[in-house]
Symmetry: D2
């Protein structure tokens, strides 16, 4: 059986496991006050070229989104997101649990459109009843999106621009950031993200760590006393070193980008397999998540040999499926898949 | 200047004010333990033909919705509502403030469709990722809707049926319930509502009281210790008698229905004025809220003589406006409006 | 039967009822945008001698405390209060429902002591583990306290001083503010309160209105977009005029102070009755709430003629009782009580 | 420098690290649906002798407490705890962030007293104003307590008894459970805990894992849909195997108790060192946390050679310090400490 369910099916990248074992017996104070954590922050600040970036390590993606978004919003403030956004669909209401609404705009292959945001804000400001409405204060985007797609630099600039004009903060969910940065055709750099977004996170869980996400705030004024939100939601690890060591390793010798490149390379091979056999992508993704429309009987056949996710509910005759690659995907896995995938039935 | 902005522009119906003055110096214990409140509950239970109905008086509509919905939902539970629902649009995120998501389905003239609910539930249950999604546990409908429209008995039964089959509770926002019950063509009775809904409220603020809404729970098991939610959200009035006296008066000698009938009668006259002059309704409402599409220059003209609400943002050449009637609207107000409303420009 | 249970046993002061009836048919826009509300704010600002005070009318005390405190606190912030404070004991966890801890210090006859606050803050700042602790950000005091007692100006200045030195905001619950301001021996003026506190409220419910509390924020920067918190917690009345008209009346011709003086005058007579018969006060209160320690058999006897509150649970042989007076208490009520109160048994 | 700051200064016990490395490349589905997790649950159920126990793995202690307590409580429900309880002092208001009050009773060396709970409940039930008070619904105890102390079986039975009589659930924080179970003089068994408590957790972080706590609910009816609370607070790990593998290892070949025994053995040696040099314990702890009262100049001296925690703020002449041992503490560490600790100055 070959597995393409997700990019979190194994433990950590071997170099990370090695480093965890090497350092296992050193003694450090807790809650992220250890030197590994300090060094990991330095490495990230240096990569970002931003000395005043305020960096925090959290455990998982839903937790990170809820902590950051819940801390930025006050009173009747709300966050704008695509209807397909992870925070809207797959976080069991974690944002609402912080007391704030997710205002949805139609996703376009998972992406928000700057024009749609502007139209919404104009209608909001022109509405006599705005005082009774949730107040849009933040925009949430993901890069890559939940559908593996990417914003072009032009699109991202346009969103940043509309945010500034309407006094909205901009937050990017980077659960799979690396896969986006190294994708073919991508023209958005880390420096662009730092410049345009008020906050974002660099995902670890899906790019080689056991767990962990690195939050980057433009500066510490964005969320004063951020640690107090982290502690209060139960996100602060006693053994904070576990996050520090992993992110230190990830940003040493370019491991983060090496992992990302391998994942995307495997995904492109996998995509080629599907395309060459006549299947249509549900969306054209240049990153490590691939979505295809498969006849249900092809799905039934494939499930004898491979695991992957049905995306949404099963359709009547065909359904959307998701195949995901990672640092652990091997070229043989793709060949094995190719060997069992029939050509698209006529 | 004639006023059609809302049905809460005056104080209370004169009979209510009289009764408040009459009883002003009697002394009662606080927090709803007074005999007026007890009697008001009896009158409502008798009207509903349900001796085990659990009745509570709250202050306002947003507060009522947040208290009931917040108490029914637990954990990752969410409430399903039309995208145009008051709880989704005009309550500043009060439901989310209780920690729960509002899942929206497309409103059809303000109404939810039983088939849409069923489709959503089927997709939810067929989704491998349902565990990461908000759990639909309650359906919110309004009667009349925010657009003045009504569910037919058949439509309401269909919603009740889908709720039972998918283990969803059903809650009806009756901020303007009376206007719906007495509307021409309405075939839904209070007894039907009691039978089909798990909870609903009978609105007072918009039907003649100074303030106050009467929550009806099918029985006290639906929300154990309801008072504790009421107190905790700050909805419990020290002078609870203020609610008891008003609802007692409202349900004595049919005042509630008398007020409702007058409001609807005035609305029908007003509708006739617009239709006869060639204007199109934005939605066909048989109740006390009327929505019309007016050219912007007609709006500008009318605003010299009358006040009313622009519904949403102003359009480029024409906009939707809302005119509302109440117990206090006089036939002369309608005539005065007719006198200043020009015919629809060609 | 004579009633001393509380100061909210009747409707409103007759002048308020008259004014509500007089204005009942005038038409106004909703949600506090009416001219009565505007004028009430002006009258209060003028009384306070502070043109930039930001004033809002809410419905009840628990709601007011939860709205203001919940809006001032962020993240792991907490409010310091006496253990006997209304927010700690009698609001069913409304503050915690906004997500924040009430840190308690021992009440001294209901009062916080500036020295106790300082000691707490020193320990907090000296604690290596402060990062894991709730962050004290606000101090809550009540004037009069829940035991009817008052801070002297010196005591209040000392609290204000410790708050400034430790970067704590200061909020005063003035549910019965008037009774304190007019009490014999009181040396705290409204101007002092405005100068020392960041926020407070002037209670209406217990001083003559049907309902309503007037929140005073030093300026609108303390809580940006306060209305959004008000709306979101369901505290915004559609007929906002109901609050405006009542507070306008209360601050016209000194009605607020007239009511307060009458209530205190009656309380002093009542106190004299108890003292003269040999009973001991549980606490020495100069305001309209009086607490006495009564043998249980005296309580049983009295309950045939009068209603009043048992304060806390019944003791083995004697218990603490609360007697409350108001604008509606008559001299005859006190005489009637005197007639049935036996001398303290030996 | 020797370190006694805490029991979370290293990574994981070597056997756990080995097992994580061994299994690193096996592929599993996410979110705790892997076979390691399934097996870990089986091992724990077998150890507890309770087949219907509902077991969940979470990340950290504060998160675990907030998730369980927040899920058990509804409306105005509150949790009773000792004033020294972790949830009251060192969780930055995480319980209050779920909307519920922590009601505190005086801790006796960190322990709640059954009699104090009964007294509180009697007063609560006898209070006419109970409807305005937070409703005690759950009791929180820790075993060992935050001061290293233990409940005797008799004390625990008494608490269980008062809980049953007053309809309170009982929850035990077992962050350091193992150290308590193996302590000399302890007469409480796991079977007793299962029998008496409705819920508890078996801590991993402080007993050898990188992170992780195992929640045990008496049965799945206690908190229906527990996973939805876990997901919503962001506690669900994508790589749930990380928890499964660690707890599987911990409960294979008695590792959990082996670690616990070593920690306690080292603590007893350390205690002997202090006692033999004439220092007084702040509290008499039989577990791996030791609290001593040291003159400040002894503290200053020791800090040249060892790290440990000041417990609370520094006193004027002497202060309370905490020394903690773990699986990683070596006998040499204790000898080294003995070598630098002067005798108690006269």
């Amino acid at each position: 059986m070959i597995h393409f369910d997700s990019d979190y099916m194994e433990g950590a990248h071997p170099r990370i496991m090695e480093r965890l074992c090497e350092t296992n017996l050193t003694q450090n104070s807790g809650y992220g006050t250890d030197p590994y954590t300090e060094n990991a922050k330095k490495l990230i600040r240096s990569l970002l070229g931003n000395d005043s970036a305020d960096i925090h390590f959290l455990v998982g993606g839903t937790q990170t989104n809820a902590t950051v978004i819940g801390a930025v919003l006050h009173g009747a403030d709300a966050v704008i997101a695509a209807d397909t956004a992870h925070i809207n669909v797959h976080e069991a209401g974690a944002i609402e649990a912080t007391g704030h609404k997710v205002i949805t705009l139609p996703g376009r292959d998972g992406k928000l459109d700057a024009g749609d945001i502007e139209t919404y804000m104009q209608a909001f400001r022109g509405d006599e009843n705005w005082i009774h409405m949730s107040n849009p204060a933040l925009v949430y985007i993901s890069f890559p999106t939940e559908y593996g797609t990417l914003y072009s630099l032009k699109e991202l600039e346009a969103i940043g621009d509309v945010c500034r004009r309407y006094d909205l903060k901009l937050y990017m969910d980077g659960a799979r950031l690396g896969y986006g940065l190294v994708a073919e055709g991508n023209d958005v750099s880390l420096a662009d993200i730092v410049r345009i977004c008020d906050a974002f996170y660099i995902g670890g869980t899906k790019i080689g760590t056991l767990l962990g996400e690195a939050v980057v705030l433009r500066n510490s004024k964005l969320i004063p006393h951020f640690f107090s939100y982290v502690k209060r939601i139960g996100a602060m690890l006693a053994k904070g070193r576990l996050l520090g060591i992993q992110f230190e390793t990830l940003f040493t010798d370019n491991l983060y980008f090496e992992i990302s490149r391998h994942g995307v390379e495997m995904a492109m091979k996998l995509k080629e397999v599907f395309l060459s056999k006549g299947y249509k992508p549900a969306v054209d993704s240049p990153t490590n998540q691939q979505f295809f429309i498969l006849p249900n009987r092809v799905i039934d056949h494939l499930q004898q040999y491979a695991t992957f996710e049905l995306w949404g509910a099963r359709g009547e005759t065909s359904s959307v499926v998701r195949f995901v690659t990672s640092w652990a995907t091997k070229a043989e896995d793709i060949s094995a898949l190719a060997a069992v995938l029939p050509a698209m039935p006529a």
